[in-house]
Symmetry: C2
Subunit: 223 residues, 2 copies
DNA sequence: AAGTAGATTGAACGATCAATCAACTTTCGC
DNA sequence: GCGAAAGTTGATTGATCGTTCAATCTACTT
């Protein structure tokens, strides 16, 4: 895309700021820390960004650019089944929780609750990130066709999956345990099983291939 | 409780800090702002609290104290039906979103993502708040008895309800619209309908009284 | 009435915050 | 190879950060 025409210094600032905002939050991250870790002088940063707020905007735009290539596409490459993709995506976030010892979750979710109130532009971009995430999952659900009841709004359901992810991550980070996240995903899976069972009951086409729902590995109960 | 033996100045500091941390977040709230709005001098604050971090701990303990009386008990007073209580509680959060123009959601959820990583004590108390919330809802679900399938873990389901609330609020705040929250609650309601239908199908006792699920007012679709 | 511990005052501290800017170097069109 | 634009340097700014503390006031004990 336009990544080729992105100045290396600006890219380094952006990536460093994105990481630090993710790790520590926006207000807790000092500009001096960004400068040190990016190996850049203050003048350079303010050459590319009018201020810290605009840097946040740049970071959020950065997240919009990288979401599909580093999140959706890898999932699509590994899993073919539309509904399987949904739970594969959730599994990715689960792995992230473990890999970073419950210190990191979803970068957008963090910023959403911290900076959404002020700064209209930041809120708009956070909402854009959410919307893109939902639309990608909505496309997967649409591809599931009549495996889900026709009455179910696909985008509503996709939004509910994002809800499950964000809410589950929030609790698991506080508990420093996978239990809440796994519990939420297990309930979501049970909901999907019910939806698929309902769709299988009132079906018009494709008489064979009546798949048994919930074939993937369900997360272990208890601790 | 011990509220009677709480010094008025300390109480005022606590309430002001709780409100400001809720409205602006922990890092974004300066001590000077707390002092000004509480009408207190710095020395008084540091007489009661060793530092800003311990003030946060005090605020989280404050939330633990007030959760049941200002959240659960009013719901229990208005709604008798155990499952109805669950959705009445969610409706409360919904009303809060509207009342504060999507600027405020759940105070614990905000702090969970902002300060949970550092400060072990704060994380512990955030987790305690979540746990108390879940346990209260779990008791409601337990009271629902065989209206829910026996196979469903009540506490897991309660955790999933908290997930729905937090995730829905996060999205609605970013979107400044009730749609994501309503969508999430609608999906949760559909899940509950499926669970109740399943429980009604394989029932041992109480032959009559087969209630039709989802009798309460479902949130309106669209805007 | 004297003594004392607790509560309150508010000026001041050093550290850090985001941001500035004039001087300097590099890159690039022509 | 020249001039201009773009990029970089880093010391420095004023504001604000969380915190301190000696002095003063208040309420209760003896």
């Amino acid at each position: 895309m336009e990544n080729t025409e992105l100045h290396p210094t600006k890219a380094r600032i952006l990536e460093t700021a994105a990481r630090l905002f993710f790790e520590q939050g926006f207000h807790a991250t000092g500009v001096s820390t960004i400068l040190r870790e990016a190996g850049v002088n203050s003048g350079s940063l303010y050459h590319y960004f009018p201020g810290k707020d605009e840097l946040l905007v740049g970071v959020l735009e950065h997240y919009i650019r990288i979401m599909r290539p580093i999140l959706m596409e890898p999932v699509e490459a590994v899993v073919e089944d539309p509904i399987g993709r949904v739970f594969k995506l959730l599994e990715r976030y689960r792995e992230g929780l473990v890999a970073f010892d419950f210190r990191l979750g979803c970068p957008i979710g963090n910023l959403a609750l911290e900076v959404a109130d002020d700064h209209a532009e930041a809120r708009r971009l956070i909402n854009q990130n959410f919307s893109n995430w939902i639309d990608a999952v909505r496309d997967w659900l649409a591809a599931a066709g009549d495996r889900l009841p026709a009455r179910v709004d696909r985008r509503q359901l996709a939004s509910f999956i994002l809800t499950t992810m964000e809410g589950g991550i929030m609790q698991s980070r506080a508990a420093r345990s996978l239990d809440p996240f796994d519990a939420s995903v297990a309930q979501l899976r049970a909901y999907f099983d019910a939806l698929q069972a309902e769709a299988a009951g009132s079906q018009t086409t494709s008489p064979s291939h009546s798949c048994s729902p919930s074939d993937s590995a369900a997360p272990t109960r208890g601790r």
